[in-house]
Symmetry: C2
Subunit: 558 residues, 2 copies
């Protein structure tokens, strides 16, 4: 994409500099930095999940380079809520400086602390709640309740001498949420009255017309499905969706069924949620997996993860008959979740597999068993009208979402020149009610792959895609250092290409001849021999097989 | 999936044997064989497009093994319409026997003939039209007009002494199609009155409630979009969707714009369609690409392919600024097509790219500019009620579609035991109004990859996925045949793993040591040395890097 990179001018005292570090141009790895008078505040630090053109990548982190040399200036990281795309990169940030304070709600901090425990990090934390104000260096923070698909989410108002920013985090405006904790429009109104200079708002659903339906609407559907189910019910959802699980527990309880929680993250998160009072477990409804075998099938509900068709998760393993629970006729599977773009093939494969085993599969395509966690266009308009922000910076979304969100701002009366469609690394300065783009940093994707962080490059991923699509041919040869004559080999190995390398025997004489010719012409250089092999084999494979595998020549001078 | 393979009993005279060869359990590679009294009729012979877990595969063919040894018994191939998933595998079938007659409508045959020309095959053809009857050996065929997203589609009634089968091909029931050629329910009624023993019907949209909207609804939307567009308009759709292109031509013409057709298949197909009268080109509306530079932007509409985000197609190249048409502010891009599952990430990447360049992108997510080509549940119910078939075999769909279609049949009164949910290779015998499953053949996926057909196996694809996700490490060594001592190497190459192989230097001493130990213990066998290398390097990479690359040891005894 055509981004012009340019360094911003040095930040002047009294000006607030905002850099979206991640989450613009993508759904995930949300992170933004705010700097004024030498101090930096971070909002969120999440991960992005890889797409199919990033094979083998486990996670994608924000590029920390804008703050890497400024770690000691960071006064804290505000975590708006406990989803992976907002907290997942915290362990990697704390590896750089372990004592950066984390600021968030009770549930958010409990979830990040559990995650950090796995990384053997004990963080410094500051628990905050809606309505609470905190001063961190030059930043006066006020936390505002917002409703989302995880409890205890917060927006944060960041007040500085340069002006006031309101950052929503992720939110929607369910008017009848399960916990009655609504997005606090009274606070939005009060902040709007006082003047919001920059509004950074969740764009995820900005291109969805109308209003996001209520979470509460799902309960009756779940209850009917469970009541009608002749045998086992297996519900799959996200392991952080405490209110969804709450509704499953309630629906199971109402139907005299027991619930077995399955999957490590589901068990862990619901344990935390129950301990802290976010999940209200009806007396005796939860059952240990081992005891489930003693109950008849029509008294059981399994609550699992794996709704996205993840191959290693419980549900996919059931579909592939690789799980101890063997699915059969009469079983009801409920995918009470979204279908994240890119996962369609995997999810449908799983659905088809479950149906072949005889299960009835209910999903959002055939029943109202999921609602989104994000505000749709209608709700965003409410926000713009109640806040009347001076400037708008849509965050959390791909280009299409950011553009749609900005269009809503303009429709509600924000001047078009005061809406900023930014990218990761765009540098925005705020001063006296003016927000302007003053630079563009060159930020990349930081890939986590096994134990390596940031070592895999886009070139490596391109190699991987070539390997996947074309396979490779490796040719080994040892040549005499003096004469250039082949003394061992050539030996050819190929993978991902055909059943074996026998097909390549035909090219061996050509390789030997080409090497001999090169040696006769005075070539003694390993690199030149490699080029000869690459050219000879590449041309032959392309002509004979219409394929372009990766060609890996290995020449040893002996 | 748990399919029990068993051979059917020998086919008795007077019994009709039906084998769905492709298209059941997948959307694509549709093909079915019908055999009675020693003669075989084929209906359709299409391709399936690969998913992301089949990297490098160009096409997937039906497994011809049920008919491979019976080629001379084939009386003909009925092609219901000209889509790739119904005709794309014909060249591969005709490679086995070039003179198998192809039977289809004028447009269908024109499209397959154009395709066969590229394969340098001139087929034997029999052109048929709706209402026409033909006798091919023991098969009395009657062709029935059906409406679909390509003109001139046909259903086929296959009458034999064993009973009557009605095969819909792909269809929907648009009641106001552009060419006024509706699905002929009068013929359905007449066939139903006479008795349909087996109904094979398109399941693609069986799980979509209600009715598929009319193609005609799209015209006004296109016209409004083109009228409002300040600069160029680029419409992308499928190159076979003649009625969609017709509506674009008409809308452009109504707005005084010229249309430039782009992309080889678009130009070719519209040429055929115009020549045969299926596309009615308003006088002077088409413009050669070279002349377009002379017209102002607001007088131009480009009609292209690439709506699925295919990287090499015109539209993706525009999004990546790799096309001579450079997209900018004011340009309108209209994706007048479906979004095929699995293509989401690629399509959204393209949309985001186009939007970053300043274009307004209209797609089915934000405007009614596409309708499906397949009958929804409501339309299928009409079919069941008007036909009242004795037996039902849902075709064309994944398990979820087949199950949904069978459920509609049952709702309309077909006994559940008379609906057959089959798979590719299920053998169904029809006799005296009874249809029963009598066998299950073991059919596989036949992958086309470059010039290779059927050589790539699922094991090769698994190799490719491992290469993509984990890369490979290749270790070369030459050992002395007598002593087992390393005389050349070890030399390590790695790809897709880290920037270079330098990271592996640390394992070399271990490899040498392991080989020496093995040699000291008497190992002289190449295979055993390879195992030693594989184990040593594998363990080291797993421990040090938490990765499991493919390990390719090459041992030469010299």
């Amino acid at each position: 994409m055509p981004v012009t990179i340019y360094e911003p001018a040095k930040l002047r005292p009294g000006t607030l500099r905002i850099i979206p570090i991640g989450g613009l141009g993508e759904i995930g790895r949300n992170m933004a930095s705010f700097e004024i008078d030498g101090k930096i505040l971070i909002v969120d630090c999440g991960v992005l999940f890889p797409e199919e053109h990033q094979p083998g990548v486990d996670l994608i982190l924000p590029d920390f380079s804008p703050i890497r040399d400024r770690l000691d200036d960071i006064v804290g990281v505000v975590l708006t809520h406990g989803h992976e795309d907002h907290i997942g990169a915290v362990p990697y940030l704390l590896r750089l400086r372990a004592d950066i304070p984390l600021i968030g709600s009770t549930l958010t901090l409990a979830l990040i602390e559990a995650k950090l425990k796995e990384h053997r990090i004990t963080p410094y934390t500051l628990t905050v709640a809606e309505g609470q104000k905190e001063k961190l260096g030059p930043f006066d923070l006020e936390f505002v309740a917002v409703n989302h698909s995880i409890p205890d989410a917060l927006a944060v108002a960041i007040k500085t001498v340069a002006g006031t920013v309101l950052h929503t985090g992720d939110f929607k405006m369910d008017q009848l949420p399960l916990d009655n904790r609504i997005t606090d429009l009274r606070a939005f109104a009060r902040l709007g009255e006082a003047g919001v200079d920059l509004f950074m708002s969740d764009s995820t659903n900005a291109d969805v017309p109308g209003f996001t339906p209520n979470e509460r609407d799902i309960g009756p559907v779940l209850e009917t499905l469970i009541a009608k189910a002749p045998r086992r019910v297996i519900v799959a959802s996200f392991s952080s969706h405490i209110h969804r699980v709450q509704q499953v527990l309630d629906a199971a309880h109402a139907n005299g069924r027991k619930v077995v929680l399955m999957g490590r993250s589901m068990v862990r998160n619901m344990g935390i949620a129950a301990d802290l009072g976010y999940l209200k477990v009806p007396e005796g409804v939860l059952l240990d997996a081992k005891k489930a075998v003693n109950l008849p099938d029509d008294k059981l509900v399994y609550m699992s993860t794996g709704s996205q068709g993840e191959p290693m998760a419980v549900l996919s393993r059931m579909a592939n008959q690789e799980h101890q629970i063997s699915i059969g006729k009469g079983d009801t599977i409920i995918l009470a979740s979204s279908l994240i773009p890119g996962n369609e093939n995997g999810v449908y494969r799983m659905i088809n597999g479950l149906m072949k085993l005889g299960a009835n599969v209910v999903h959002k395509g055939n029943a109202r068993i999921h609602v989104s966690g994000h505000a749709s266009a209608g709700e965003l308009l409410y926000c713009y009208n109640i806040l009347r922000p001076k400037n708008v910076l849509p965050v959390h979304g791909e280009q299409r979402h950011l553009v749609a969100n900005a269009a809503l701002a303009v429709q509600s009366g924000v001047p078009e020149e005061n809406t900023i469609i930014a990218e990761d690394g765009t540098v925005i300065d705020l001063k006296d009610g003016y927000a302007s783009v003053v630079g563009q940093l060159d930020l990349g994707f930081v890939y986590v792959d096994g134990s390596s962080v940031g070592e895999i490059t886009d070139a490596d991923l391109k190699d991987r895609r070539i390997l996947a699509e074309e396979g490779f041919v490796s040719i080994f040869v040892a040549v005499d250092k003096q004469t250039g004559r082949v003394i061992v080999g050539p030996e050819i190995q190929a993978r991902g290409f055909a059943e074996d390398g026998a097909v390549f025997d035909a090219v061996l004489p050509q390789v030997i001849k080409a090497l001999e010719d090169a040696a006769a012409n005075g070539t003694r250089d390993t690199h030149a021999f490699q080029q000869v092999i690459r050219r000879t084999v590449g041309r032959w494979v392309n002509t004979q097989h219409r394929r372009k595998p990766m060609i890996v020549p290995v020449v040893i001078e002996a």
